[in-house]
Assembly symmetry: C2
Homo-oligomer: 164 residues x 2
DNA sequence: CGAGGCTATGTAATACTATAACATAGGAGG
DNA sequence: CCTCCTATGTTATAGTATTACATAGCCTCG
């Protein structure tokens, strides 16, 4: 029943399972499957693409199936939503177990390559700190931020240069 | 025929008209009306809300009417899209005339108050610079970035404190 | 003038993204 | 056993955005 994923994905899934267990959260087979599909993908995955894939093995899958699962994964910081793409990526950085077991959103930044569509997650503290400072100067206290940059990744830039 | 807007909005519209003229862009009555509706609103406005309002005076208005108009306004930097809200705000900062007349996207940051829904636009160079530097370290060159922070504006924080 | 091309808008249909509301199933614990 | 709670199933609908083709006005070039 369980889907087959890459070795790397399976490792990340095991980590996710450990995190969930520590928090008393239930990483069900459905949730594990969806997380695996997201982690296994080269680029961000849309909710309806996840749905299509789910349906190959799960007859009753419907939009709420996917969105509820995504809510769970988001809540536990196992995936992120990329607003620009209305799509989801796995969280591979800093998804450590919180002592308090509380849900927490990481202060992450995303670099989206407009050529290959891949997304790189950064967790640059300076970026968060400078944004927080600038906001504070405007009298604003930030609870969470979306930072998504579009551009060219090193691979694609090299390739472009090669092609003239 | 032309809608009535606040004095402030009319001023901004005149500036927008000047910018368009300088660029050889055509700020038609439709575009001016939509821009005015966005500028006049206290909070970001959704495309279908704009459509509803348009229909009050324009019989044939349909989704493409609004989206095409928004495309024009976005292209000329007269409005921004707030990804988190799927809504649009007027650009009031740094929307100066470029000598080259090219479309340009500002490096803007948005502060969204989760209580009152208002959005403040910042143009903090440090934020852009630090993000660009961090991206560069990851081998990434940014062409444009979305930075949206959610939190509490000073007004709402004060009000909350007053209420205990 | 009149043909052709260009920009802006009209019009109809549809695709894509997300949520609401209610139903069912199965385990944990009194 | 019954009840509560979590997870999922099921149906319907809301909200956001685009495609494709039609029309209308304007400009200009011959």
């Amino acid at each position: 029943m369980a889907a087959e994923f890459s070795r790397r994905t399976e490792t990340l899934l095991d980590q996710a399972a450990a995190i969930c267990e520590q928090r008393g959260a239930n990483l069900t087979e459905l949730r594990r499957t969806v997380l695996g599909m997201i982690l296994d993908a080269a680029a961000p995955t849309g909710a309806y693409e996840l749905l299509d894939r789910l349906r190959q093995t799960r007859r009753g899958a419907a939009p709420p199936t996917v969105y509820r699962t995504l809510d769970f994964l988001l809540e536990h910081g196992l995936v992120h939503r990329v607003e620009r793409l209305s799509a989801f990526v796995g969280c591979v950085a800093g998804c450590t177990v919180d002592p308090d077991g509380e849900s927490h959103t990481h202060a992450a930044q995303f670099l989206i390559c407009r050529t290959c569509g891949r997304v790189v997650e950064m967790q640059d503290h300076d970026v968060s700190a400078v944004l927080a400072r600038a906001a504070k100067e405007a009298g604003f206290s930030i609870s969470n931020a979306t930072i998504e940059a579009e551009g060219l990744c090193s691979t694609c830039r090299t390739a472009r240069r090669a092609n003239g």
